[in-house]
């Protein structure tokens, strides 16, 4: 045969390069489409803002109130990030490094608060302590509500740290705090920052808690302008201020991540670290978790149930069941759409840094700080022109996907970047095509993290209210709308069963999140098998 080995290698390579180019083109195209979808609310705000004259806009921006609200928002975000990061990292380290009984169960109460709508949570605290109000109360409530984001993100990071490194550091004489600072922290700070970013954006976009506690953030001002003045363009101008603020937060997070070590260094699988076996640490971790679950789950439920008992009404079981099912279905469908939409961007972001990827991620993340009412109205504005599609469960699920896309993208890209490029290359040289590589190499490593992101979207979608009220099919109820309609006329006793179900439903996927150790191990076993 005339063809030499070198020649055939070259043709394979050029063919491979062409394939690569096509794939990259398709990916970038897909990313652009997703970014365009995520831009809908921002474009909507620009259009609405442009209805005001430059003069009016300037007046809105320079009034003392705007500055005051901006300061309150920044202080609140700073406070919440400070508390969630210190407490969340400590708890995550405790859960990861300390030998604990029933570790998988222990993580559940740390994640459950994700399922409780912040207005229900706040209400129960006000019912318990009438004077509960103001800035510090806001920091408290939002820290408790967003702590799970930091715990989960940090735990995900800690799982990528090689236990062997820690053992080497310890044998070289570093103390536990020193080991953490010099070996562990530099490897997980990107993850911590990702969790803190979610906490910060949640704080920026929250309405329920801050409005009940009389803390006026940008979101409260925006919502007040919509609710009370029908002044959509003034609300849009303030929303743009909020977007500017979210942009700063997102850039800060990027800054932290830039200084993180090269992601390419991530190992194929990490040696399990040996667990710290100290009684006082064990007690401390369990005690902190117990206090946290008391504050975040037990007390709210105690208040709701006691309110229910004091003014008992017959529970409508049929309605409760059908509402639960439709909530689960539409939230799951939203999470599924988010998963699909986040895939191309996740793949792009996990590879070499490209401007398309960077801008798309920024747009999606910044939009995550917008209050639900803004995204709801933006989608009403466009959706109402779509005829039969408007106010269908499909559009509602799609809205959930857009609202919480940032969560899905974050987990998707960080999970995919755990897959080392050289392993993919090796698989390719062994004759696997792109799809085989994705199926046999990428998916097993990245699946647990991607699953976590999907579940986060699912949990948040289940309790979403403002966009749900506007976009749901007429007559369609979710657990959150049922809680709202009882709470709107102060009947928290009637809201109790729905709130209980919401948390019970949330507990199930939470249990799945809490077991990624298992999938890690399966992967290691599978790998060991394939190596034989």
């Amino acid at each position: 045969m005339p063809t030499t080995i070198a020649e055939s290698a070259r043709t394979t390579l050029t063919k491979g390069a062409r394939n690569q180019r096509v794939i990259r083109g398709v990916l970038n195209g897909a990313v652009t489409i997703v970014a365009a979808l995520a831009l809908i609310p921002i474009v909507y705000l620009l259009v609405r803002s442009s209805e005001k004259s430059v003069n009016e806009i300037a007046q809105l921006l320079v009034r003392p109130k705007t500055l005051e609200v901006l300061l309150t928002t920044s202080a609140l975000v700073f406070g919440v990030v400070f508390i969630t990061v210190s407490l969340g990292v400590a708890l995550a380290c405790g859960l990861h490094f300390v030998r604990l009984p029933m570790r998988r169960i222990l993580i559940i109460p740390a994640v459950l608060p994700l399922a409780i709508p912040s207005y229900v949570f706040t209400y129960t605290w006000i019912a318990l302590i009438p004077e509960f109000s103001g800035f510090l109360a806001g920091v408290f409530i939002l820290s408790v509500t967003t702590l799970p984001y930091v715990i989960l993100a940090t735990l995900a990071g800690l799982r990528t740290v090689d236990g062997a490194q820690i053992e080497v550091a310890r044998s070289l004489g570093l103390s536990i705090p020193q080991t953490f600072r010099r070996v562990v922290f530099p490897q997980v700070k990107g993850h911590i920052s990702a969790g803190a970013l979610l906490a910060a954006l949640y704080t920026i976009s929250d309405f329920g808690a801050v409005s009940l506690l009389n803390v006026e953030t940008l979101t409260v001002t925006i919502q007040n302008m919509y609710r009370a003045s029908y002044d959509r363009s003034a609300a849009a101008v303030i929303s743009l201020v909020l977007i500017a603020f979210s942009t700063l937060v997102v850039l800060a997070d990027e800054k932290v991540k830039q200084k993180s070590p090269d992601e390419g260094m991530v190992k194929l699988y990490s040696t399990k670290n040996s667990l710290i076996n100290k009684a006082w640490l064990r007690v401390a971790v369990i005690a902190v978790l117990a206090v946290f679950s008391l504050v975040a789950v037990v007390i709210p439920f105690f208040v709701l149930i006691s309110r229910f008992m004091s003014n008992r009404v017959a529970i409508q079981w049929g309605e409760l069941a059908s509402t639960s099912i439709s909530t689960i279905l539409v939230a799951a469908f939203g999470a599924l759409i988010a998963l699909v939409l986040s895939a191309p961007l996740g793949i792009v972001l996990s590879g070499a840094k490209t401007p398309t990827g960077r801008y798309a991620q920024r747009i999606i993340t910044i939009g995550h700080g917008l209050p639900g009412v803004v995204i709801g109205l933006a989608l009403v504005s466009i959706g109402s022109k779509l005829g039969a599609l408007y106010q269908t469960t499909f559009l509602l699920a799609f809205a959930y996907a857009l609202l919480f896309l940032a969560k899905a993208v974050a987990s998707m890209s960080s999970s995919l970047s755990r897959v080392p490029t050289n392993v993919k290359d090796v698989a390719a040289t062994l004759g696997m095509n792109q799809w085989q590589v994705i199926k046999k190499v990428v998916t097993p490593i990245a699946a647990p993290g991607i699953g976590l992101g999907t579940i986060l979207v699912f949990l948040t979608a289940m309790k979403e209210l403002p966009a749900t009220l506007m976009l749901r099919p007429t007559g369609f109820d979710t657990l959150a709308t049922q809680i709202w309609s009882a709470a709107a006329i102060n009947r928290f006793n009637e809201a109790a069963p729905y709130a209980l179900i919401l948390v019970l439903v949330a507990a199930m996927p939470t249990f799945l999140i809490s077991r990624p150790d298992k999938s890690d191990r399966t992967f290691i076993q599978e790998n060991a098998r394939s190596q034989k």
Binding site: A228, R232, N311, V373, S381, A388, T474, G475, I489
Partner: protein
């Protein structure tokens, strides 16, 4: 989990979703004879659903009711414009109706619609009609508040320092403030608001929160609608320690506001919507509102809710409700003094 299982689960979920989707989209189909109406209701399901159910059984027409906050539903209708699927908008307050009317999205109602409702409770251009009345009052703690105010303007007095609660985002409060601006000018209203702020006024997200705050002793007096003490007592399952009182006759603090309804210009079901409005404003149903929701009937000579004076005896100020539709200036003022 095996891949097969995952696939099956996925297929199952999609099938369920599809059935959901088709189940819900049938409402969009055009029918020759009117069999369904779509109502956007800013009024709470708990209170209004029984009325809707009765009309459904009487008319044989199915109601698809979309519940929401009145102001948010109005904002939604403004965004939807002529594409709105709504046939009728039932609002908690005249302000939301005014905003939709202003945008030209309501149709003019004929003289035979709600003909018994006095003209002062109907939009001048007949774009909407009042359905029930709610009076502005002050709620107070009889234990702690010894000096009752005679006028809203008394509330800036040091007697009420740190004792007063208001809900500036509430539509009824804004309607009252609009009346105050219209009657006495913007400067007067501004100095009144600043007087309240200097007097340590406490801000609440809604009326019921004010009543609860008085009940638990946080404040002693608050500006609310008349039925909230009843509503909060119902919700808590006990009588709250809060009374309701009117200011002196003619004081703007005794303003009567209405919940009301308008028909969307984009609706093709005018006859059916008109029938629904006539039902809601009929004598029997009006009386039912009085007993079931503790609101005022708007019909002449109707009975008042329990423990309340008759509508004519309140000493309500003479305020043209149409003049309250421009809440833009009110909003700007609230924004200017920093209450919004």
């Amino acid at each position: 989990m095996s891949n097969k299982f995952r696939l099956a689960a996925l297929a199952g979920a999609s099938a369920l979703f599809l059935s959901l989707l088709t189940g819900c989209s049938s409402s969009n189909e055009q029918a020759q004879e009117v069999t369904e109406l779509t109502v956007y209701s800013g009024r709470s399901e708990e209170f209004i659903a029984p009325f809707f159910a009765q009309w459904e059984s009487e008319s044989g027409i199915k109601l698809n009711v979309r519940y929401g906050d009145s102001a948010e539903l109005a904002a939604q209708i403004l965004e939807e414009g002529s594409n709105s699927p709504a046939d009728l908008f039932l609002s908690q307050d005249a302000g939301s109706l005014g905003a939709v009317a202003e945008a030209g999205l309501f149709t003019e109602l004929g003289a035979d619609v709600a003909s018994e409702i006095p003209a002062k409770f109907v939009a001048a251009n007949r774009n909407w009609v009042g359905v029930t009345g709610r009076a502005r009052v002050f709620a107070y703690s009889p234990e702690r508040l010894k000096v009752l105010p005679k006028s809203v303007t008394d509330l800036t007095s040091s007697v009420y320092k740190n004792q007063l609660g208001i809900a500036p985002t509430n539509a009824s409060f804004q309607a009252f403030l609009t009346a105050l601006i219209n009657a006495n000018g913007k400067e007067f209203a501004k100095s009144w608001l600043e007087g309240l702020q200097a007097n340590g006024v406490k801000i609440y997200p809604k009326n019921s929160a004010i009543v609860e705050a008085i009940d638990r002793g946080e404040i002693s007096i608050g500006l609310v609608n008349h039925y909230y003490v009843w509503e909060v007592s119902e919700a808590l399952g006990r009588e709250v320690k809060v009374n309701v009182e009117f200011f002196e006759p003619g004081d703007l603090g005794n303003l009567i506001n209405v919940s009301g309804a308008g028909v969307m210009a984009s609706s093709k079901k005018y006859a059916a919507t008109q029938d629904l409005i006539n039902y809601l404003t009929s004598v029997a149903v009006q009386q039912k509102f009085v007993t079931e929701t503790h609101e005022y009937s708007l019909l002449e000579g109707a009975k008042a809710p329990a423990d309340m004076p008759a509508l004519a005896q309140i000493g309500a100020p003479t305020v043209d409700l149409n003049s309250l539709k421009d809440i833009k200036a009110t909003q700007d003022l609230l924004i200017e003094v920093g209450l919004l």
